[in-house]
Symmetry: C2
Subunit: 239 residues, 2 copies
Amino acid sequence: MAEGPNIVRLAALIGDNARAAALSTLMAGRALTATELADAAGVTRQTMSSHLAKLLECGLLQVGRQGKHRYFRLAGPEVAHLLESLMGMTPAAQGSQPLTGPRDQALRKARICYDHLAGELGVYVYDGMLGNGVLRQVEDGLRLTDHGQLWFRRLGIDTHRVSRVRRTFCRTCLDWSERRDHLAGALGAAFLSRIEELGWAARLEGSRVMAFSEAGERSLRSLFGGVDQEPEPPIRCVR
Amino acid sequence: MAEGPNIVRLAALIGDNARAAALSTLMAGRALTATELADAAGVTRQTMSSHLAKLLECGLLQVGRQGKHRYFRLAGPEVAHLLESLMGMTPAAQGSQPLTGPRDQALRKARICYDHLAGELGVYVYDGMLGNGVLRQVEDGLRLTDHGQLWFRRLGIDTHRVSRVRRTFCRTCLDWSERRDHLAGALGAAFLSRIEELGWAARLEGSRVMAFSEAGERSLRSLFGGVDQEPEPPIRCVR
DNA sequence: GCCATGCTTCGATCCAGGTCGAACCGACCG
DNA sequence: CGGTCGGTTCGACCTGGATCGAAGCATGGC
């Protein structure tokens, strides 16, 4: 019966409302304290404490001391990616799961996926990059073109420096709300932080929502010609 | 608190021993009856029946009638991939999870990952393909070289026909036992079924184990020069 | 030293959900 | 038809684990 490692414990761990809420909250990429996570999940401190202990024990979270606070964060991009994968799975599952609310709306529009941009604008950016020849899809992979290097430099991102980081340079990540790919990896992270730097958008406190100013969204869209272009027939869904 | 879709139910579903056992068993790629799954998981028929109903409802499984049997199978490659992802997560999690047994040994050596080859031999093949220039890694992706086309043809696989299938042609999949990549996608599936056709290995009944004959393993290794070559410094672990 | 704050541990409670026996349904066979 | 076999539904049981109140322990500030 027991084929393979104990996937069971791991999944059971995620399959609890309070813990999943905590993990979801941490998907914003920030490190948070136990109390904040407890509030976010709507449980008491002591309950959250026991949950966090379990998540730590299983290596899903990391923790760091700072003064009398303990800051919890996701253990790494793999964890974030696993969670996003799970989310990407559910709509197909639930059949017709209707849009759940207006707060959800903002989440679908633009959100943080650990360290890069996701949601409607996330895939817009990704499509735009493909359409404008910044990225090219080769077989199942992604490559930054020479033109793309210039494009990023004009935006104020040094792709060479980014590529020196010891992690996957660029890759795609399936967007659960759009069910299409968006840009992840070091390049995706760099792009998001540059957007923040430029003041086009800001993280909404205590949420994964990335709130774009009107001007910011205009600027973003102008990067790709502004007009809503459907670049090519929707490319077959990798992964 | 409820950010995103209900990942909770999905994870909770997987996080149960009986259900996980069923899913694991189905990773072999076969369709099985409720009774077989019940035996595999070590529970009674009625228990498994209720589990299967839930898995169906959530879209993780599909079912087909045939005579008085109902054959259950994984809903698709995405599900299989999700499960492998979870498995790949656990070792890092559990810290030092020792090799659990001798039956496990065979599983680590060579097993079926839904429709392609995984385990020690799986990554051996993948590394060999890279080392011999059959596949090339481009940025984060994978591409079949011209030489590779010939290589596959010599093995009796028409890569053009394979590429016409409406699904990802070739991609990598993280191996949970080896913690390295192996080949997946349509190409990976074609390779596995060709190996079976050639009689180099056979599926072990009721298990994910792929049992290689001695001659079969020799043949497989001879595809890449036979000698155990470590091709290049271990390529950085994508994903 | 004292108190406040952030967090964990302990103990008790309580309930969702996994489990199985038994009955039920439906398809196929002789 | 009855009989067998695969599968599901029902009801009852029982346990694992989530939850919270209260107490215990740190750390930091005064």
